[in-house]
Symmetry: C2
Subunit: 422 residues, 2 copies
């Protein structure tokens, strides 16, 4: 009988070994692709000084940070907390180690982050995040925006999902320039937020929200037309130009978007679209922004996102470090992919071979055989103990693809057969 | 200029990319060996209910647990904390998922644990622990004690250290039986602790400590003789027998130790000794106990340890789950191996190839070439931007083993050369 609640706490992931194996495979595929594309792995500590995490944070993030303190201490002593993303620690890392790093620095970061969100299905408070970032000093070529997106697209390809993945790409300068051209800069922050939510609410609500902040009929029409622009890059660029708003920032945004699209084509990526509805939050991004979606499963929303930021470490240093990055939230992704059955789930046995000595007399030879098979690169366990052979084989069939039974005859002859479980 | 302290907090590990790569290789070798030996990977959350972590803990561990609370909460609200080892979460996991698991369950656990220790060189507060455990219901064959030890020995072999590794093995029943036979059971806990420390202090101190707790000259002589017994299993067993203390538990301990030694030999392990000084703490272990050391670097102490426990989950359930396990503390191990230069450090470049387009005109072809090389399984980055070729090559030589320069001629001919950096 249980004496205590042994369920894992809500908002964390805990899997059975066979499901964990599938999760681990995804993780492995991500790590391999990030490396193949030249991103170097780094790991920053999960524990950070609270002042580092709070240097920029505000609003929800700040309230959701987990502070830590030893049991003997009070919360007022807590000067340390758990990181809530990889970006803030990366900024700290780059400032700290700048003189030992080679720029542009292409880094991959994979590991747990923590955020005290309200627990919900598919929402995690401890979550495994897989980031790539390219950071440089002063200037970073636009080439790397495409580099990040193509790396992530290639990574999703490796997942072999049963449904297509599409990258929706925009550039923050386009909307910024558009609003400047329309003299709507003062309402920019409201408009960003309305656009950001526009996909989750009926069209009338978006219209009403734009009315509410006092847009003229003409301004509203332009915004509504703008956010519907999606598809091939050239067509979208033409669509924006057809709005007849002149602005230099807007033009630069369009030209950057075009260049990124061309670089992606040159990388043999075709599963991307330009999409003017992509905004991604408010403060952080300054150029390219993107989100990956599964178009056949719109309800899932974004499964990967990122963009260009002009000044990564502004809260930690006066030096300028522009960067571009993207992130896969692996727990949520795994949750939705399992939920919708979009990846192969556990039909495979976790191990290659179970060696089954009939009695303890055969243990020695069983150990020899197991070592032989391990040298061939197989995963091998030995089913020891004085249970009946039938019980041992039942156990073996649950954990391994094949069994090797070792009895008197096998020991005497030094020969054995591999029995595959079907 | 820095505006804030950007150093990682003390007691955490933070490495430059090239050193991280070496750490990652060790991690990868461990994961592969654990899998090869049939251990299934699981991951429990780092966040646990405080009551789970405190169910058994006492003394130092309890004071060192990190509680967590959202910034908005006070410490009194903190019902969650960070795990301090893999064993307590494993016990919870097994009780929670018992009906879905196959026993004996061979599991590997790799990940960060947290302990609020005083910061010291080579001591970590956030530390990466790599565990293997075999857990069963009611009974677990002694076979698995050897299984765990041989898996860990094979793992250390994969590290290709420049110094030998030796497993020192004992069985808690031997000392327990010896003390019972000598009627010293009441002083057992003191004696355990004196033996446990005996290697770190001069022999006179150990003698004095045994005097202090009131041992007779004869009793003291037997204990001192006992803890010096180390070497080949047979010889050590003979040595224990020569002490002429009759006790059933002692006999069982000797026979278990002998069986484990025989199984290890059958697994082609030869780098182990029986060693009566190995005790490992007080409460937890009940049979086999072991520690790995580097005999040429005695000052390092144990680099891996573990043993048999008869009742893993007693604080969570009335069911009996015996187990045997072992653990490698990877941060400390990496720290000492780097410090003593016992592993190959960063002489290798992190990437295989840097593709260097001379100007932006060659970006497209550079992307093609990079993709080709990635399909061959290589890690490839592209050095983009409008810097001088010399600067680009200097950068390439720092991060990659070889470069492919792409200029007009390469684009025209579709041919390129790979230049290896020496």
């Amino acid at each position: 009988m249980k004496k205590i609640n042994t369920a894992p706490i809500s908002g964390t992931q805990e899997l059975l070994p066979e499901t964990q194996a599938i999760f681990d495979k995804l993780k492995d595929k991500i790590a391999k692709k990030y490396k193949a594309h030249g991103f170097l792995n780094i790991e920053t500590p999960m524990l950070e000084r609270t002042e580092i995490l709070l240097a920029k944070a505000g609003g929800d993030t700040e309230k959701q940070i987990y502070k830590v303190a030893k049991t003997a201490e009070t919360m007022e002593d807590a000067t340390e907390a758990l990181r809530f993303d990889h970006t803030v620690p990366l900024a700290r890392y780059i400032v700290e180690h700048e003189s030992d790093l080679v720029f542009p620095l292409k880094v991959a970061q994979m590991g747990e982050n923590f955020r005290g969100e309200r627990a919900q299905r598919g929402r995690f408070r401890e979550f495994y995040q897989c980031d790539v970032d390219v950071v440089s000093r002063e200037k970073l070529p636009l080439f790397y925006d495409a580099d990040v997106i193509s790396t992530l697209l290639d990574t999703f390809e490796a997942f072999e999902l049963k449904t297509p993945v599409v990258a929706r790409i925009s550039n923050r300068k386009i909307l910024k320039g558009l609003l400047a051209g329309l003299n709507l800069e003062e309402k920019a922050s409201d408009i960003y937020s309305i656009i950001d939510h526009s996909e989750k609410v009926p069209a009338e609500k978006t219209e009403a929200a734009l009315d509410e902040i006092g847009l003229s009929a003409d301004e509203k029409a332009k915004i509504l037309e703008f956010i519907e622009l999606a598809g091939e890059c050239e067509k979208v660029v033409d669509g924006v130009k057809a709005l007849e708003v002149e602005n230099e920032v807007l033009s630069q945004g369009l030209s950057e978007l075009t260049e990124v699209a061309e670089l992606l084509k040159a990388s043999s990526c075709d599963n991307f679209v330009a999409d003017m509805r992509i905004v991604r939050g408010l403060d952080y991004y300054t150029g390219t922004v993107f989100e990956f979606v599964l178009p056949e499963y719109k309800e899932i929303g974004s499964v990967c996102g990122g963009g260009r930021y002009e000044n990564l470490a502004e809260y930690f240093t006066d030096q300028k470090f522009p960067g571009v990055g993207g992130s896969i939230g692996l727990n949520r992704l795994f949750y939705v992919l399992s939920d919708k059955k979009l990846i192969k789930m556990a039909d495979e046995k976790p191990l290659d071979i179970a060696v089954v000595p009939i009695s303890e007399k055969e243990n020695s030879y069983a150990l020899e055989v197991a070592n032989e098979k391990r040298k061939e690169g197989l995963s091998v366990t030995i089913v020891a103990g004085d249970r009946k052979l039938g019980d041992k084989m039942k156990y073996a069939s649950k954990i391994a693809k094949a069994a090797i039974v070792i009895g008197d005859a096998e020991v005497a002859s030094g020969k054995y057969r591999i029995k595959e479980f079907i």
